[in-house]
């Protein structure tokens, strides 16, 4: 990161985060969350989380995760357009 630069009354802090960097973080998050989710599903199945609980938790968890990934992809795309 660039050093803090004073300009006028405000201190300007450069954040050189491009859309490419965000896409990189997105892919990394996808891999990490994917791996952890696989472990969750294995635990819930193998150690006997019962039917209804499993369906509810799985549904809630994957809906939230997929929703947030879709939202972040849209936001990154919008950010790329403003760059």
């Amino acid at each position: 990161m660039q050093p803090v630069v004073a300009r006028g009354a405000d201190i300007v802090i450069p954040l050189p985060i491009t859309a490419g960097v965000l896409w990189g973080v997105f892919v990394l998050a996808l891999l990490v969350v994917g791996a952890i989710s696989w472990m969750f599903v294995h635990h819930w199945g193998y150690y006997g989380v019962e039917g209804n609980n499993r369906v509810f938790v799985k549904g809630l968890y994957f809906t939230a995760c997929i929703g947030l990934f879709v939202l972040s992809a849209l936001l990154i795309s919008a950010y790329a357009l403003t760059s």
């Binding site: 300009r7 009354a9 405000d10 201190i11 300007v12 802090i13 450069p14 954040l15 050189p16 985060i17 491009t18 859309a19 965000l22 973080v25 998050a29 969350v33 952890i36 989710s37 472990m39 969750f40 635990h43 819930w44 193998y46 150690y47 006997g48 989380v49 609980n53 938790v57 968890y61 939230a64 995760c65 947030l68 990934f69 939202l71 972040s72 936001l75 990154i76 919008a78 950010y79 790329a80 357009l81 403003t82 760059s83």
Partner: protein, 190 residues
């Protein structure tokens, strides 16, 4: 299911931590979703300007989405740890399954006939009002003590284990609730 049961062994009930224990842990995560908003509000009143290649508000929104995603994963982890940390009481034994995270799981069993002490411990205002506490089971020998913390209605759990003992042939049991005198073996159970 990773537990194998003997022939004729029947699961009587399962004991888990009180829902309040889970909700209290999840509550921190829910509060955590507000943290970036608070930071944003604090930074916006400071004489700072962030220079970004694109729209700064969109960059904040992307970071916030990743933050919430991380909290969702943490919440799923907490629920998994809560759900898989359980006592399974059968007509022959108590199985103590202690889940520590995703990669550590300890399973220990105690035969009902070997149980000597069942102690309950409810501490604090919230625990007393909501009804959760610790339950400990001990044997006469040097075997490990079974402890489940933050269990819902510990006295009911003690009574259920006690009923399992009575109906499945255990005779010498001494109950010892924290703060009460122990009941000698052979005495009627409270």
């Amino acid at each position: 299911m990773s537990i194998s049961f003997d022939q004729g062994e029947v699961v009587l009930f399962e004991v888990r931590k009180h829902w309040f224990v889970l909700v209290a842990e999840l509550g921190f995560c829910v509060l955590g979703t507000l943290l970036p908003m608070v930071l944003y509000a604090v930074v916006s009143v400071l004489p700072l300007t962030f220079s970004t290649p694109g729209n700064g508000l969109l960059l904040f929104a992307v970071c916030y989405t990743f933050w919430v995603l991380a909290l969702i994963v943490v919440m799923a982890y907490l629920w998994t740890d809560y759900y898989l940390d359980v006592w399974v009481v059968t007509n022959q034994r108590v199985i103590d399954i202690e889940q520590r995270g995703l990669f550590s799981r300890e399973v220990a069993t105690m035969q009902l006939s070997k149980i000597q002490d069942i102690a309950t411990d409810v501490r604090g205002f919230i625990a007393t009002m909501i009804g959760f506490g610790d339950v400990r089971i001990q044997t006469a020998g040097n075997e490990r003590e079974f402890v489940i913390r933050g269990v819902a209605y510990p006295d009911k759990v003690r009574a259920q284990v006690e009923a399992a003992l009575e109906s499945h042939g255990a005779i010498a049991i001494k109950l010892n609730t924290a703060g009460q005198a122990a009941v000698p073996p052979g005495e009627p159970l409270v």
